[in-house]
């Protein structure tokens, strides 16, 4: 019982809720959680009244920057962010897809300069609803399901 509580409760930090199970590990990598030393709790395939099953990620003592957290919208546009201070949710946020994504998505075109030169990729979001991207360099368009991180 005590153990269960320890997992569930977060004194200070961020809880990312309602992650579609298939997107959970992509969210982990988008936020580069593997590089954090904070206490992190990850649950997946949990029951959800909203979306059937869901994933959840809790990161203690971490409050993400807007542009960091908005990356999630690439793979999970409907997540809920709970900002927790002193065991209380002080803010609930939605993620918003930015106009431009730098250095996260890989270009699908093998003849693109970004795949052949030590440089950051850059994509323009050309359709926020459908999550369609366009490479700033080679100009190819990438659909949501084709996104490679």
């Amino acid at each position: 019982m005590r153990k269960a509580l320890q997992v569930a409760a977060l004194e200070n930090g961020t809880a990312i809720d309602h992650i579609p199970p298939q997107a959970l590990f992509k969210v982990v990598s988008l936020l580069q959680l593997q590089q954090l030393n904070n206490r992190i709790t990850i649950g997946n395939n949990l029951r959800s009244s909203k979306i059937g099953t869901k994933g959840i990620i809790k990161v203690a003592d971490k409050f993400f920057e807007e542009d960091e957290i908005n990356r999630i919208a690439l793979v999970a546009p409907n997540v809920t962010l709970n900002i927790i201070k002193n065991y209380e949710v002080i803010e609930k946020k939605k993620v918003i897809l930015p106009d431009e994504i730098i250095g996260i998505v890989k270009c699908n075109n093998p003849k693109c300069i970004t795949n052949n030169e030590p440089m950051k990729t850059r994509f323009h979001i050309i359709d926020k609803e459908k999550v369609e991207l366009q490479c700033h360099y080679c100009e190819i368009k990438i659909k949501k399901e084709e996104i490679i991180l």
Binding site: N109, K111, C112, I113, T114, N116, E117, P118, M119, C135, H136, Y137, C138, E139, I140, K141
Partner: protein, 310 residues
């Protein structure tokens, strides 16, 4: 104080130029055509960096520079250049931009010129980046149309051949989009115009018709007949290629009821898609079109170097 609109620093993509930019270039190209030997680049050095060979394009650029009394350094393919062996594009651009006032580059990787323009302190002209962009080709096409028709507005352009992979055609559609064109797209099933360009036309209110056959109707309604190569290697079904290879060929007798003002253009090199018997028809304009490339490039170079063409 009057704020002048910012001219683009580099030319990577035809969309870097708006309508005013395009018209300014075409008017200056006309000045160079009337008087090509000028001294606007005296004391300047330009680089032609051809990471992928393209003799025709390189000669056109280098002649443009020579006729302006500028000097040229560079290489014509990476096999003969030790500078680029194993070196990143960034390093090559950073080094060469120390020496010159402008860089003209052709590269097999798509997006290379955009990247170069972001890191280079001197202007970049994209002379082709893989199958992506080749904006001076578009400008010379536009100049040839402008010059022969006296306007770019309200023209009917019939484009024939490989409309799927044809970069020149795609950029021409974008470049003409400011001028209320009507397009006839003539292509075999396997090479028809991609959906995204039809969507582009729809968004811009541009009228177009598609033809699966090289019909006389598409020729006779045109002000410009823009021919392109139908290449064997583009076909997944070689039977299909065998079927169409002799169909998308222009012969002189097909022009007999065409409009008086019609001109036949082709980005060159041609293979078989324009029969030699068209060459002597005054409506054939592809060799003059290639020559126009030089004047258009003179105009682009001066524009990027902020040299006023008088």
């Amino acid at each position: 104080m009057e704020i002048l609109p910012m001219k683009p620093k580099s030319l990577v993509d035809i969309n870097d130029y708006n309508k005013d930019d395009i018209l300014r270039i075409l008017n200056n190209a006309a000045k160079f055509k009337a008087n090509p030997d000028r001294d606007f680049l005296k004391g300047k050095v330009c680089a032609t960096l051809f990471f992928e060979p393209s003799t025709r394009t390189r000669l056109s650029f280098e002649t443009a520079i020579n006729r302006l009394q500028g000097r040229v350094i560079g290489f014509s393919d990476t096999a003969t250049s030790s500078l680029t062996k194993g070196e990143s594009l960034k390093d090559t651009i950073m080094i060469v931009s120390n020496y010159v006032d402008l860089i003209i580059m052709r590269h097999y990787l798509e997006g290379s010129a955009r990247y170069a323009s972001e890191i280079s302190p001197v202007p970049i002209i994209n002379a082709g980046d893989g199958s992506n962009q080749h904006p001076t080709q578009t400008l010379l096409d536009l100049f040839s149309i402008y010059e022969t028709q006296g306007t770019l507005e309200n023209l009917t352009i019939t484009v024939v051949g490989d409309l799927k992979y044809g970069r020149a055609v795609h950029s021409l559609i974008e470049g003409l989009s400011y001028f209320n064109p009507t397009f006839n797209f003539v292509a075999p099933e396997e090479l028809k115009i991609p959906e995204k360009y039809k969507t582009f036309c729809d968004q811009k209110g541009i009228r177009y018709k598609e033809f699966a056959e090289f019909s006389i109707e598409a020729i006779n309604s045109a002000d410009i007949l823009y021919m392109t190569r139908v290449q064997r290697e583009r076909f997944t079904d070689l039977m299909e290629y065998e079927k169409v290879k002799n169909v998308y060929v222009l012969h002189n007798d097909m022009l007999k009821n065409s409009k008086d003002n019609l001109k036949v253009l082709h980005p060159l090199p041609r293979v078989k898609e324009i029969d030699q018997d068209v060459d002597d028809n005054p409506k054939a304009y592809y060799f003059q079109q290639a020559r126009n490339g030089m004047f258009t490039r003179q105009a682009v170079i001066c524009d990027l170097m902020r040299i006023e063409v008088v």
